[in-house]
């Protein structure tokens, strides 16, 4: 039996070295991409089909003091993912370990998953029509190893383990941090059915550029749970109505009458 896993990211320990993003590229064989410096320390601005994790840097000045918020971001691996609901090819699935994965064989590259993800994580390569995102290093994890990012993290800001064992560790760490940092909070366990990647933040989520209130888009629920069943019913009802219409017309003798009328009108024309 595989148990539910957790990757716990403690931003208070992160030094912003970006080794996690390098380890991810190395293990997953992802090519380097040309980037440009966006802020004083950040060159990667968003996920791409070949960049599944990167470190975001935010500088905030408060009371003459600089707060340097840094956070490693990747797919959250939601327990109840919007991407999975949005995928028309049923290419996205959950594993027992709590991971959300894309089956590349089934993926058609429509990009509906990325558009419906509250964090806009999955990215589609329009040249090959495939969508990619963090796999949580499922290939390593299923073979008893840590994800590449967790393995490489020097300050041990990325911890990996069973969900049930990691949750108390995260809560204890939160209590510890709150002594000096009253704004500290856990981010992930309360969203989207509980995410596999859980964060300890030192400040409110939007200070890290994280969605403050992520949820399944209402439009997605309406699309899949309302429009599709009602549309199917409409088509079925329409087909049933015409079947009844043909039978009703036949029973009323309208087809026979019509043939007679046409014959008569031709006769009239003949005179």
């Amino acid at each position: 039996m595989t148990t539910r896993k957790m990757v716990f990211i403690d931003t208070s320990l992160c030094t912003g070295c970006k080794a996690c993003s390098v380890a991810c590229k190395a293990w997953n064989d992802l090519p380097a991409e040309k980037t440009q410096l966006l802020t004083s320390y950040q060159a990667q601005g968003d996920f791409t089909p070949n960049t599944w994790t990167y470190v975001r840097f935010r500088e905030e000045y408060k009371d003459q003091k600089m707060h340097w918020n840094m956070i490693k971001v990747q797919c959250f691996h939601c327990a109840d993912p919007a991407c999975l609901k949005a995928c028309p090819s049923k290419a996205i699935y959950k594993t027992e370990s709590g991971y959300t994965l894309i089956d590349r064989e089934k993926c058609i590259g429509c990009g509906y998953c990325g558009q419906n993800c509250p964090w806009n994580v999955p990215k589609t390569d329009t040249k090959i029509n495939k969508t990619s995102k963090c796999t949580g290093c499922i290939d390593r994890v299923e073979n008893g190893l840590k994800p590449a990012c967790a393995q490489t993290c020097q300050p041990e800001a990325i911890k990996f383990g069973d969900y049930d064992k990691m949750m108390p560790i995260a809560e204890a760490r939160l209590a510890e941090l709150q002594l000096t940092n009253p704004k500290a909070n856990l981010y992930g366990n309360q969203w989207m059915g509980g995410t596999t990647y859980l964060y300890l933040l030192q400040d409110r989520p939007d200070a890290y550029g994280l969605h403050p209130n992520p949820s399944t888009p209402i439009a997605l629920t309406i699309w899949k749970d309302l429009v599709h069943p009602l549309g199917g019913i409409a088509i079925g009802a329409s087909a049933a109505a015409i079947a009844c219409g043909v039978i009703a017309n036949f029973v009323r003798g309208n087809y026979a009458n019509r043939a007679k009328n046409i014959a008569e009108s031709h006769d009239e024309g003949g005179h």
């Binding site: 058609i108 429009v227 549309g231």
Partner: protein, 220 residues
């Protein structure tokens, strides 16, 4: 020979068929993308990626077909604009006709006031088609060019696109029935191919139009 009157100009017939054939192709290829159950059928086009490109090419033809029908000074464009004007002016007589739709649909008959070139039922069908076409075209281009459009707009474009496709598909089934299988209304079928419909049919279904316009075109 049966007496005939002229009902549909070349322009109207052209727009009808571009719209109809394109819609069928778009519905079929679209369902292939939307539903995993239908996706394997897309192999007849050479796979899902070819299908997605066909959907885009036909979508452009669908859009162009809709627009060019209304442009210009020809008889066809004039009639198209007239159709649009007629359709958006829905009056008491139109309602009186449309409310009997269910009875007529199942082969019954109830008298209705004299109708213009387009009767109440046709006007309703046209209104839904115009509105549905606008919504499906706009939402379609939003989905196509999603990466450069705000995410919340794209998210709403999906249910709108699906709803238009499925409900217009349901309407199309009824439209095909009335045109092909319904013993009374399918007398008009030839009109959408060559423009001419039986004079007697025109008189019975569009008395006002027959007396004011169609009568003058009568031929054997």
């Amino acid at each position: 020979m049966q007496k005939l009157v002229y009902r549909f100009s070349k322009g109207e017939r052209f727009v009808h068929w571009v719209h109809g054939v394109a819609f069928l192709l778009l519905l079929f290829t679209g369902l292939g993308v939307l539903t995993i159950a239908i996706q394997p059928a897309m192999n007849i086009f050479g796979g899902i990626q070819v299908t997605r490109n066909i959907h885009r090419v036909v979508a452009v033809l669908f859009t162009i077909g809709m627009i060019i029908g209304f442009v210009g000074r020809g008889e066809g464009a004039r009639q198209m604009r007239r159709w649009f004007k007629d359709v958006i002016s829905f009056g008491k007589d139109d309602f009186a006709h449309a409310k009997n739709f269910g009875i007529e649909f199942f082969g019954g008959h109830k008298p209705f006031p004299p109708q213009g070139k387009f009767n109440g039922g046709e006007k309703l069908n046209s209104m839904i088609t115009i509105l549905g076409t606008l919504c499906i075209v706009i939402s379609g281009y939003i989905i196509w060019f999603a990466p450069s459009i705000p995410q919340w707009i794209v998210q709403w474009a999906y249910p709108i696109h699906s709803a238009c496709a499925l409900f217009m598909g349901a309407l199309l089934i009824a439209h095909l029935y009335l045109g092909l299988l319904h013993p009374d209304s399918n007398q008009a079928l030839k009109g959408i191919f060559n423009g001419w419909v039986p004079a007697k049919f025109a008189y019975e279904h569009y008395e006002k139009w027959y007396n004011e316009e169609a009568k003058e075109t009568i031929k054997e």
